[in-house]
Symmetry: C2
Subunit: 358 residues, 2 copies
């Protein structure tokens, strides 16, 4: 990502450099603003659903005793609040807290259901809800959080609440369709999946909610229709840049990142963006890659597979695309928020998301 | 139910008798009003989610070819529209169509998820969504329908839309908690389940959405807070009456009803309302029932089990309770809608629901 970030326009003298620290401060402030609303909403739930939600957010252990809380990085609520502040100042940020909590609830409803569908057993270093409470209760808790999210907005007297709710509901539909496409592609032949399809899936699955978060913040700032759409596009493009970089890391790894080993996506034959781009390139390397992907994974073929993706141009394509998406994100942002100082927070968050550091 | 219905106050001369035909006409009109909005909302979905929803509503076969449509009886949208008409006339009914579609979408979202959780393979004489599209897609389609429902209300310019959305979202939370309680009770010892708990569960699982439908209709008629609550209570009480009668039928059967054989609930050791009432009676028959429920089902014990429920007072209790709930429903209704002619449609629907005829 270091080479991508060099393309980010330099900031005027006097503004803080985007060193990742600024994003950390923004995320921490967002968590502090949103948690009381989130907590109050969850405390309002009937006992059974409350218990599952408190566990999911890391506020309770499985036995119901209090836990320190590990509710994730709060990227989406931070985008809501930072977008509101960028377009409407501190007053807009303040009135958007409930909407930020609603967006975070939607994100967490999708996580609860994703974990059931994927049979994932851990999230945020804790057992997933379905492993503790069973599939049915995890599904019900997800349903409950979606209702809680849209209910929060329905009760919000702010004039933007209705438009925000409509946007968030439309985003849920897009998230579901994106998630469906992701699963459907897993069973398709790699040659059948087009680059446009994978890009559309990534935008729906990853970009849509980031874009929606920014757009909701803009709505609460009373922004014009054009500015709302520009902020939506900013979030979507940053989300796609993130996905492209994440896919590069999934093949070639990232020295700054612990966890996922290099090559893990190739081992599971994932149709990630660089792989699909490579397969579509029509080069001799793409034919070799298609052959490798058609056979079961063998450890000794890993380097050859990664090299085939690279030779077929998949790595370069993904990096150029990521830089391009990031440039588009910044262009959309500066259209809606021309003053660099006002745009800085959102830029810091976009950088944080795509660099995945700190 | 015939004996219960005798307690319904007689209607003034000149109004149609509640012979079940009136309800059929109301339901048919509701279906005709709501289907175009429902259909348009579903057609707006991305292809994957649209296909599952069209199949669920009976508008498409599994292979995507058009089907005649069998989207259920439309009781909930009929309650919305009839409540709106009762309190606000034809104009209120007209503006409430979108809200009626939203309530129907919520009902269908819960059906999609219930079928996944219960592993039910047929609904409305057709294969359930998860058997055709898989668990993940049925979960996603349910999520989508919830979002579509609350999104419809968020886009509705009517001044009542926000309050209706807040009510519908709160109702989803109650439905989820009720559904959780229902499943949790299955694994509990029969002696551990109290009558209050089963009644609360039945109210949440069955009464809440019927009450919400009526309340939403009242909101669209611009009714006072008191009238909205009275209509909510009307729907809830009618829902409980329905559940009590359904539970009686589940043990002793109903000659007018085909399908479920007599005794089916006893065979699966269901903690239905008459059974829990019988177990709580402290009679010798309740001890016998507890013993029978503690042993696996045997066909030759079925008559003895039904008799034990009856001797312990479970049957009488359920019938008196059903009559009482129906009387309360009618009292709430006449408080909000004192004019018999205006209340007639809602009464006909309550009777239809509890008689389960035609």
């Amino acid at each position: 990502m270091a080479e991508l970030m060099r393309e980010v326009p330099q900031h005027p003298a006097g503004t803080e450099p985007l060193d990742g620290h600024e994003a950390a401060v923004i995320l921490e402030r967002a968590r502090a603003s949103v948690d009381p609303v989130l907590r109050e909403a969850i405390e309002s739930l009937p006992g059974s659903m409350r218990r599952i939600a408190l566990h999911h957010f890391g506020w309770e252990h499985a036995d119901g005793t209090p836990a320190a809380g590990n509710a994730g990085k709060a990227i989406r609520p931070a985008l809501v609040l930072t977008a509101a502040a960028a377009l409407g100042g501190a007053a807009a940020r303040e009135v958007a807290v409930r909407a930020a909590a609603a967006v975070e609830l939607v994100h967490n409803f999708t996580l609860l259901h994703d974990d059931v569908m994927d049979r994932d057993t851990t999230r945020r270093h804790r057992p997933t809800a379905w492993t503790v409470f069973g599939d049915a209760d995890a599904i019900l808790a997800g349903d409950t959080l979606q209702a809680l999210a849209l209910g929060l907005l329905a009760q919000d007297p702010h004039p933007a609440a209705g438009a925000a709710a409509a946007r968030l509901a439309a985003c849920v539909v897009e998230l579901c369709a994106g998630r469906h496409a992701d699963t459907a592609m897993e069973t398709q032949d790699p040659g059948e999946v087009t680059l446009d399809e994978v890009l559309a899936m990534a935008e729906a699955k990853t970009g849509a909610l980031l874009g929606c978060a920014c757009a909701v913040g803009a709505l609460y700032a009373g922004a014009s229709r054009e500015d709302v759409e520009a902020l939506d596009a900013f979030g979507r493009e940053a989300g796609l840049a993130f996905q492209l970089i994440d896919d590069v890391i999934g093949i070639w790894g990232d020295p700054r990142r612990t966890g996922k080993p290099a090559g893990s996506d190739l081992a599971v034959r994932k149709k990630s963006l660089p792989v699909v781009a490579a397969l579509a390139s029509g080069t001799p390397a793409s034919a070799e890659l298609a052959e490798l992907y058609a056979t079961p994974y063998a450890k000794e073929d890993l380097d050859r597979t990664a090299l085939a993706v690279e030779r077929a141009g998949g790595r370069d394509w993904a990096q150029v695309q990521a830089a391009d998406r990031m440039a588009r994100a910044i262009a959309e942002l500066s259209r809606a928020v021309p003053e660099p100082a006002a745009a800085e927070g959102l830029l810091a968050l976009a950088e944080f998301v795509t660099r995945r550091t700190s």
